[in-house]
């Protein structure tokens, strides 16, 4: 396992370098106007000086080399436009905690509601819970999140008398954003858990357990749930780590001072250092999350092995 993990990590490092190189080059294709807010008022010399100071006039390989040298010294550089001359990591450290905390809370809600919902749906095929759950899942997955987030904010703030905007000191104002954030995940967990559980319920060993006289609660808990949960475990580390990214809709609707939309924002304002740092962090999270997911799956179900290639299939 360790050898496998080490191999995967080295591979991921190469992937990361390629990703960051491509993003770095793409950013250099952006229009020069984007670096200035008052482009029309500046004369040529000012523009030249500003570009020179940002290091944008060097040839691309030189810029790239400088970036990687800087990275090896453990620095992601300073923000250029978003908050000039503030280290990128400081900005992220400033914004990430709110997003992480809200993301973790919403994940907890999603697991607490989604897993029981999925189980209830699998147990009551074509009865109330199944129909209710299906309707909920269809609504949440089909309707774009922006729409139902908006409707929730408009109507629930009225009906429940909750504050429209988020404030860190007021715990009541956390409720709506966190719950809205968890809706998508509730549907996701419920949908897949139901599917895996139904698959599992149709297997022969469950029939044998029933024939032996094992009561259905034990069957559900010990056999069905445990086996059905294995394929879902794979996604947990990734979604856990991605809570750092925040949600662009939720955070802008409730004006939460988090990471949501930061990437989009800095791309639009062409703050190259910020974009590179964020892309680096997010892709690293994606890759590491996948690796953790595989390891976790292996721990949950020792039958799954990564060391040797699978059989004929």
């Amino acid at each position: 396992m360790l050898k496998y993990a080490a191999k995967r990590l080295i591979q991921s490092l190469v992937t990361l370098v390629i990703i960051i190189t491509i993003v770095f080059s793409l950013l250099r294709l952006m229009p020069v106007e984007g670096y200035f807010q008052n482009f029309d008022k500046l004369d040529k010399n000012q523009i030249h000086a500003a570009l020179l100071s940002m290091g944008l006039l060097d040839p691309l390989p030189v810029q790239l080399k400088n970036f990687f040298v800087q990275l090896l010294h453990g620095s992601l550089g300073n923000s250029l436009i978003y908050r000039p001359n503030v280290p990128v990591l400081d900005i992220i450290a400033d914004k990430a905690p709110v997003s992480i905390f809200m993301g973790l809370a919403s994940m907890a809600i999603a697991l607490l509601l989604g897993l029981p919902l999925g189980t209830a749906m699998a147990r009551s095929k074509a009865k109330f819970w199944d129909k209710f759950g299906t309707a909920f899942i269809v609504f949440v997955t089909a309707v774009p999140a922006a729409v139902y987030y908006l409707l929730i904010q408009v109507y629930f703030t009225d009906w429940l008398g909750l504050p429209i905007l988020f404030s860190e000191s007021d715990p009541v104002s956390w409720i709506l954003p966190t719950v809205s954030l968890s809706l998508g995940n509730i549907a996701y967990y419920a949908m897949w858990l139901r599917r895996y559980m139904v698959d599992e319920l149709n297997k022969d060993y469950i029939r044998l357990a029933r024939a032996k006289g094992v009561d259905s609660k034990t069957i559900m808990k010990k056999h069905v749930f445990r086996n059905a949960f294995v394929p879902m475990v794979q996604y947990l580390p990734t979604s856990l780590l991605y809570t750092i990214a925040g949600s662009i809709y939720i955070e802008s609707l409730y004006s939460v001072p988090g990471m949501g939309g930061l990437l989009v924002n800095v791309i639009q304002r062409q703050d190259n250092n910020m974009v590179q740092a964020l892309v680096l962090i997010y892709s690293a999270i994606g890759i590491v999350g996948l690796l953790f997911g595989d390891i976790l799956m292996n721990l949950m179900d020792p039958r799954i092995s990564f060391e040797k290639k699978g059989g004929a299939r």
């Binding site: 309707v143 774009p144 922006a146 908006l150 409707l151 429209i164 639009q268 974009v275 890759i287």
Partner: protein, 331 residues
């Protein structure tokens, strides 16, 4: 043991007894050998697509939604040509020359007017038209590109490592960068949006097809085909892809609501269509600004309902069609 033996003996006897009483023509007799009859083979008039439609038509919810979508599509494209309909972009003034701003829904303006005096009814239809166009175009090109790349990725073993690496890289490049670069090269328009969405959208489809192909590639019947010297092209077209019709259909049907939702997202972050081209994303965004005032919420409400009806319908129809096109569900 002895008891059981006794019982079976009794049963045997009673069976023999009843056979004795049977008339001769009910007993087995030897059949004659007919050479012509031996040549006859089994024949079934099973047709894949007919069975698919038969199963699909049994799902009443999906069929009614399909009819609804058909009507919406028809009306969305006929609406501008019908008599008595207003233009979606014209600003209407009242008798004194003032713009009719924020007029609530009434007999003349069915959905009311927006903040600069445009007719919301025709704007919603026009927006639905734009969004559906985007949805169909993106879903179609994603399917073509995704299936092509997915098949190559999954079927040709030597390409697997390379394609997986390319996928990992492309998947991690933010869509926003590509979109901004694109709208910088081309003007923001419906086709720019479609191209930019397709540039990143086919990745998921390709990975999905690849995983499916990996699963069935080495099944015995494909192995047999390969041993018999069937060319790869024929194996892919005849053995693999028909097997995947149902999942591809599902993916395509889901790609339509996804593309419509993506348009809403892009408008939300300010990279969508210009305001002069109404789309559901644009309309929802306009409505969002006004939602704090309860009297003006209809401007958010109507486009949101139109959007939800369209996306939910496609989702349900897609699922029903995918179920129907799975031969396991045929009789």
């Amino acid at each position: 043991m002895a008891l059981r033996h006794k019982k079976t003996a009794a049963v045997e006897e009673s069976i023999n007894e009843s056979f004795k009483n049977l008339p001769d023509d009910e007993l087995f007799t030897f059949a004659g050998f007919d050479e012509a009859a031996a040549e006859k083979t089994g024949y079934s008039d099973y047709s894949y697509w007919r069975s698919t439609f038969q199963v699909f038509l049994k799902d009443r919810v999906a069929v009614s939604l399909l009819i609804l979508i058909g009507i919406i599509l028809l009306f969305a494209f006929l609406q501008p040509h019908l008599p008595g309909q207003r233009s979606a972009t014209q600003i209407y003034n009242d008798a004194s020359g003032m713009q009719i701003r924020n007029l609530p829904p009434n007999a003349e303006f069915w959905f009311g007017t927006n903040s600069i005096g445009q007719d919301l009814w025709s704007r919603v239809w026009s927006g639905t038209r734009t969004s559906l166009l985007i949805g169909f175009a993106v879903a179609l090109s994603e399917a073509v590109l995704g299936i092509l790349m997915g098949v190559l990725w999954g079927y040709i073993r030597r390409l697997d490592r390379l394609f997986t690496e390319i996928y990992n890289v492309l998947d991690n490049i933010p869509q926003t960068i590509i979109l901004i670069l694109f709208s910088y090269i081309m003007r923001p328009s419906v086709s720019t949006l479609i191209i930019a969405m397709c540039l990143t959208g086919w990745l998921d489809m390709a990975r999905f097809i690849r995983n499916q192909i990996l699963i069935i590639r080495d099944r015995d019947y494909n192995l047999a085909s390969r041993c018999l010297g069937t060319p790869s092209r024929r194996i892919i077209l005849r053995n693999l892809l028909p097997y995947l019709v149902s999942v591809i259909m599902l993916r395509m049907a889901l790609a339509i609501p996804a593309a419509i939702g993506n348009e809403v997202f892009l408008t939300y972050i300010g990279l969508g269509l210009p305001v002069s081209i109404p789309s559901l994303g644009n309309l929802i965004n306009e409505g969002r600004v006004l939602m704090t005032s309860a009297a003006l919420r209809y401007q958010l409400f109507f486009p949101a309902i139109a959007l939800s009806v369209v996306t939910i319908s496609f989702y349900i129809i897609g699922n029903a069609f995918a179920d129907a096109s799975d031969p396991k569900n045929h009789i």
